[in-house]
Symmetry: C4
Subunit: 223 residues, 4 copies
């Protein structure tokens, strides 16, 4: 490993610290979600009703937990592509973690807007805030893949530049579909926007190990 | 290590990140418990009485700390079984961590219900909530062992498939006994249900290094 | 490394996870201290006076940060003694981390009791609570050294059993002096008790790399 | 690695734990920033206005996130200079982390002072508090470089003592310019002080891989 800053080009460092720092951020974000779960205020003998009334909060917690988990799986796959980290990749990773840290906020705004008594205009605004944040969160993933495409020497063993190029499909799809969901939420109905958001979470869950190009002839040997 | 997503079958990755992320989650959950400990409100000269009054809170804190610690020890033993992590194992691990993150919530509901002035019906509900959560927490452990049983190539050196198969006894026992404790708590007395819960924590503490089959002839060689 | 639970004797595992989990706990405890620092309530133009009034809080924060830091340094030295972790050591380490997580609580009680308007009896109680907690915190350190003394095969390269035996002096000194400080605080004056507590923090800072036996002849070779 | 405390000189240990602990602290500090982001209180149908009103809070969050990120990048570069950690370096690192943990506090005071209705004198005080904290934060970085300069045997492969000596320019520049910003903020205008603070963050971002001496002849070989 070359010394930081000693050389003319950006030096290549260990992936370990980027990983450790990222895992710390993911672990804290996913654990802090539980703070929303509180003993429901209830009259004596009505704990059951109190718990049932809070059901939407518990469902929202599960969805958020699942979503952060899915992003972690995606990030896990992402860092397995590289064998070294540069200053550029560290910056992109910080940008990516910004999205992870921020996402509980528009989620809370969305949950608040769809709570009983919410206003239709507020719901449109909440959907828009969410999809704009989510679309902005997709940008660093595209930047990461593009950076790797330009610097194939950073790729881990057995990772082809073509594979990395293909992965750019995911964040681009994400940005387009999030904005589309936002348009549906604004012009058609906020509920349709929310459905679009849930579809996107499922999409990211299904592609967490990367999208695959169709490869008609299967190469021999173990995966 | 094969590249993520390059191959037809699910690729095998490093256990390191699964471990780091899990340890982060465990560390945060076990540390956040301390937030419940507050300087007791008291009149001047009555700090001692204030502290004594809060004693149940301190005992609950110690039990919770012990329980999360026991789950960590179990998880520690669990990850020592494997030499690689797949997407499937990462999903199961996320499910397992969901239980770790959630468990302080039904614990708080239980403590609240048994506080002075609690209602007997609420106590039954609280016991039921706890045992249902705890039983659901056992499911991913069963899934983990079953997954390993089907894919023995993931096992670490010196770990036999038979050993892994035996470990399935633990989560199944956990689920059965938790549901039994819940039935006792509901139909007999909520206090009996709580005793069942404490017995389960002790059971998990005692078996944190795995259950052992009886092996009459001792194989030679170092442990 | 032998497989967990496969053998008759307690198996020896990696120190890595014990370290990672402990570092997570230390990092969270030391960071959560900052939550006490809040923008002081003040009238317009009197921010400076507001900050000055909060000075005791800031000093308490610095002392707490320093103390947790000192415990971390001690723990760092502790784990460098061993080359493997057993279930027993993991239990002792959990017990030790319990002390790390708990210590901000008696510290807060102490700070509250010495705040303006505190009562002398409450101060004695607060000093007693602190020294009892701190003495109990020393116990797992003694247990750790005693455990290693009985199982020298766990010692890292170049660590002698005699060195480990000597280290038991530290927690024993800690327990005795904490209880002595408590007696002074109870029978003489709570302030004297606090001075004893501060002396103990300094003692642990100075011995964070372990106590040394006097060795008249210096062995050759690099340190 | 020599055993802790066995030798006469300060023993050299692994950098791994210093890194893991530091990453934990950075991860928690950068994640806790998000707690400031709350669903804005608003009347039904006025969520958009509520969000717009909170815009300064969101900008402050982004700046803080960016600043902690920049300090992490600098710390990342810092630890890449060394191949081992001594007790002295661990102490300096704790001091450095104190700055990381503390910085959100003067930032909050600054944000509060510049909120609508703030008083000019309070703003001067807030700028002074910030620059004094930030200048004090620079001191451990200077201590780290100076320590390495005196003990070149701790330097990683390919890191020259001359390079390390040059790096001392950064914290010294930081301290001088922070104090200069404070003087401007106090005697000219608090807003000028804030501009100086922002310039310093940018300076630290641009030099996160270390300052480079001018080297007219480029050595051959890869970076």
């Amino acid at each position: 490993m070359s010394a930081a800053g000693e050389a003319g080009t950006s030096p290549v460092g260990d992936v370990g610290r980027m990983t450790g720092f990222s895992d710390g951020v993911f672990a804290i974000v996913i654990t802090l979600l539980v703070i929303e779960l509180r003993v429901p205020a209830h009259r004596s003998g009505e704990l059951f009703d109190g718990l049932v009334e809070e059901l939407p909060v518990y469902v929202a917690f599960l969805v958020s937990f699942g979503y952060i988990g899915v992003i972690w799986l995606n990030h896990h796959t992402l860092l397995r592509l590289i064998r070294g980290a540069t200053l550029g990749l560290n910056w992109i990773n910080l940008w990516l973690l910004l999205g992870v840290v921020v996402i509980p906020f528009p989620t809370a705004v969305l949950a608040d807007a769809f709570d009983h008594g919410g206003n239709d205009h507020d719901r449109r605004v909440a959907v828009l805030l969410y999809v704009l944040t989510a679309a902005a969160m997709s940008a660093p993933w595209l930047a990461f893949f593009s950076y790797l495409h330009r610097r194939p020497e950073l790729l881990g063993e057995g990772i082809s530049a073509a594979y990395v190029a293909t992965q750019r499909v995911r964040p681009v799809t994400g940005m387009v579909l999030y904005l589309f969901s936002g348009a549906l939420g604004w012009f058609v109905s906020p509920l349709v926007g929310v459905i679009g958001i849930v579809v996107m979470i499922v999409y990211h869950a299904l592609t967490s190990e990367g999208v695959r190009r169709r490869r008609p002839p299967r190469r021999p040997g173990r995966g």
